[in-house]
């Protein structure tokens, strides 16, 4: 459909994520890094958005649904957490259980209305819903604080405040890793493979007997639930919410992350989240013309990394494999069967 997809598997399949997770887990123990709570807080933001980006990948990369309104579920998570904390005194873990429920119901409602339309139309309708809720959040300012936002502690005490940055780091890292592992598993399940079939060819999927609409709705619920978890994590890192978390700009961020990371790979978008969060923040500290730099960066990434970062990794893997087979089997003449491998 819309873009070239990087393929799962290769060394990126298991070894690379494991290595990345290991490095991240050890990072706070490294002398210079562990002291730098700013870097930690950037990484915390990256973990939050990694979860959000992975949820988006369920829709975009695996089911082939382009949504411009995915922030709806992220924002739902954040608002659920903040409002629960503010008005019910509920803590992080309560929010982490409540938000997915709210998001799932919302996804069911929104999805049954909007998933009947396809392609760009769905993108726009989904955006309309998200923007609608953004307006609601803005207009309900007595409850939500409107565009001034609402601040309240969501993070558990042990992970709250600058002194507990490392704790928050591990909390968000753990949640991101768990999300990654769970989603990987789910996407390799019969359900997940069915989503891929729908992405590939909706008509064909229906013709072999899949209820395409129901599976798309399922994908939306799954993506919504995971996005809401990211939203709760966001609430716990910021302890604050503004209506723009629901807005199209938030979705666009996650869209960029996914594309730059490489859609349909789960790990790619998570990586993209890290890159975009870090690049945006760091660039804007290092040059006043950071928007120019960021714009050029996007352009270069797009032009030179057609499969996203994951695609790059895959190309490396392939080249190595090619070298190996060339060395091992000598001159295999490319023919009908040789091409099969």
């Amino acid at each position: 459909m819309l873009l070239r997809r990087a393929k799962e598997g290769g060394w990126l399949g298991a070894a690379a994520p494991a290595a990345v997770i290991l490095v991240l887990a050890l990072l706070p123990f490294m002398p210079v890094v562990g002291e730098n709570r700013y870097l930690l807080s950037l990484l915390i933001g990256a973990f939050v958005f990694a979860v959000f980006a992975m949820s988006f990948d369920v829709l975009l990369g695996y089911t082939g649904i382009v949504s411009f309104g995915h922030a709806l579920f992220f924002g739902t998570g954040t608002y659920t957490a903040i409002l629960l904390a503010k008005y019910a005194g509920a803590g992080f873990w309560t929010a982490l259980t409540a938000a997915p429920l709210v998001a799932a119901l919302l996804a069911l409602a929104v999805g049954s209305l909007s998933l009947r339309v396809k392609g760009v139309y769905f993108a726009m309708v989904s955006m309309a819903f998200a923007e609608f809720f953004r307006v609601v959040a803005e207009k309900a300012s007595p409850i939500t604080g409107g565009s001034d936002g609402l601040a309240v502690q969501v993070a558990p005490d042990w992970a709250y405040g600058p002194r507990n940055r490392v704790e928050l780091y591990f909390l968000t890292l753990a949640l991101a890793v768990v999300t990654y592992l769970v989603l990987r598993r789910v996407l390799a399940s019969p359900f997940g493979r069915t989503l891929v079939a729908i992405r590939e060819n909706e008509q064909r999927a229906a013709a072999v007997g899949y209820n395409v609409f129901a599976f798309k709705l399922g994908a939306l619920v799954l993506a919504g639930v995971v996005a809401s978890l990211a939203g709760v994590m966001y609430a716990a890192t910021e302890n604050f919410v503004v209506p723009s978390v629901l807005g199209v700009d938030t979705t666009i961020q996650v869209l960029l992350m996914s594309i730059i990371g490489g859609v349909g790979t789960l790990g790619g978008p998570a990586l993209g989240a890290g890159i975009i969060r870090l690049a945006g923040t760091l660039l804007s500290s290092y040059t006043e013309r950071w928007r120019l730099a960021l714009g050029v960066l996007y352009a270069l990434l797009v032009l030179f990394l057609p499969g996203g970062l994951a695609g790059l990794a895959r190309a490396f893997g392939r080249r190595r494999a090619a070298r190996r087979s060339a060395a091992g089997e000598g001159g295999v003449v490319a023919g009908g069967t040789a091409r099969a491998s």
Partner: protein, 388 residues
């Protein structure tokens, strides 16, 4: 520190000693819709420091270094940047922002990190009322000061009917909450609040409602790029002739944009470079003209006041320690561009003069400018203390 950081002491002929610099971290909206305000603020801040240090940009024998970060107008970015300033650059004092929601976030960080936060130009009341904490000091004039200055003056006779047009967002409703009681207290009647989406393409139909209501006073609260369009359409609809239009007057760009339509408009203004007759202002106007080829603007004065307050506070405290600074600044008065500013002890809001003006053509400027009707003393515009 990277390219975004600039030493205020560039021209300050340092003594070559490696004294540890005093770092001021500025988080403000360098890009985004509030970029113009941030620009004024930053220029003012630098000039204020220069002025207060007698051109050395040093205090307590230490150079002052300013590090600027862009909050892009969004609170979470602002917060991130503030963390960067606190954690990585280890700034001693925070300053900014052009956005109240951003400032609210930074204020809570300031409290967590126990660092002084000199707020300017964010104007939302919350920072020195409901969301106050002791690390906040504010040189900026705030919305309720505007209201106290402008609201009373707008009502000319008891029973004057007022329509208050404002953006349909928190900024708009909070302005309505601040101004409307003042109108009522002065004997006016607020007949309607009209809230218009901030990005409205056209104001004509909203203004038609105003025409239909035919009030004595149209109060306009607006900020943003389309303010020009709003006032232009107020003119096209003939409302300037039909009623008194009043507003909190904006920066030079908005006056230029209003053009002749604005002539006759009355309202309150926080600062316009021709208004204050003080030596500090004279210096500011001259220096600004020299450096940037134009006179200072609406929020330049606030930025300068923030710079002066920081330097004077450090001098008085003899340290950058937040506790000592707070002690020094509470109740402190200093001379700024608008005259005497005093940090009220209870809420750390700087009381300051405000100006009630009429927009006129003066032959000197190629755009209409405010002419002073009356200068309101700091006491007259002192908002009630609302710290809980």
């Amino acid at each position: 520190s990277g390219g975004g950081s600039r030493s205020a002491g560039e021209g300050g002929g340092g003594g070559g000693r490696a004294a540890e610099p005093i770092k001021i971290g500025v988080v403000t909206s360098v890009t985004g819709p509030l970029a113009g305000y941030a620009d004024q603020e930053i220029k003012g801040l630098k000039l204020g420091i220069q002025y207060a240090t007698g051109g050395t940009n040093e205090v307590l024998g230490r150079p002052i270094e300013i590090i600027i970060e862009d909050d892009t107008g969004s609170p979470d970015v602002g917060k991130q940047k503030a963390v960067k300033l606190l954690e990585q650059d280890k700034v001693h004092i925070l300053q900014g922002s052009a956005s109240t929601p951003v400032a609210l976030q930074i204020a809570s960080l300031a409290e967590q990190y126990e660092v002084l936060y000199m707020v300017d130009p964010a104007a939302g009341d919350q920072l020195t009322t409901t969301d106050f904490n002791k690390y906040i000091f504010r040189t900026a004039g705030i919305n309720s000061q505007d209201a106290l200055a402008g609201g009373k003056a707008a009502i000319e006779k008891p029973g004057d009917r007022v329509v208050h047009l404002a953006p349909d967002n928190a900024f708009g409703t909070s302005a309505q909450d601040a101004w409307n009681p003042v109108f009522e207290e002065a004997g006016g009647v607020v007949v309607r609040n009209i809230n218009v989406p901030l990005d409205a393409k056209d104001f004509a139909t909203y203004l038609q409602q105003v025409r239909d209501l035919d009030p004595d006073v149209l109060m306009v609260t607006w900020s943003g790029g389309n303010a020009l369009k709003l006032f232009q359409q107020i003119g096209e609809m003939g409302l300037f002739d039909q009623m008194r239009v009043t507003t909190s007057i904006g920066d030079r760009a908005s006056l230029q944009g209003l053009g002749d339509a604005a002539v006759g408009l009355r309202g309150v203004v926080r600062y316009f470079y021709t208004l204050p007759k003080t030596p500090v202002n004279d210096w500011l106007v001259a220096e600004h003209q020299k450096l940037y080829g134009e006179p200072p603007d609406l929020f330049t004065a606030g930025g300068m006041a923030a710079g002066i307050a920081i330097v004077e506070g450090i001098k008085k405290a003899g340290s950058t320690d937040a506790g000592k600074l707070i002690e020094a600044l509470e109740g402190m008065s200093f001379e700024g561009p608008k005259g005497t500013y005093t940090f009220r002890k209870e809420d750390h809001q700087a009381l300051q003069p405000m100006y009630y003006v009429e927009i006129v053509k003066d032959g000197e400027h190629d755009y209409p400018v405010p002419r002073l009707i009356n200068e309101l003393s700091p006491e007259e515009t002192a908002p009630p203390v609302r710290v809980n």
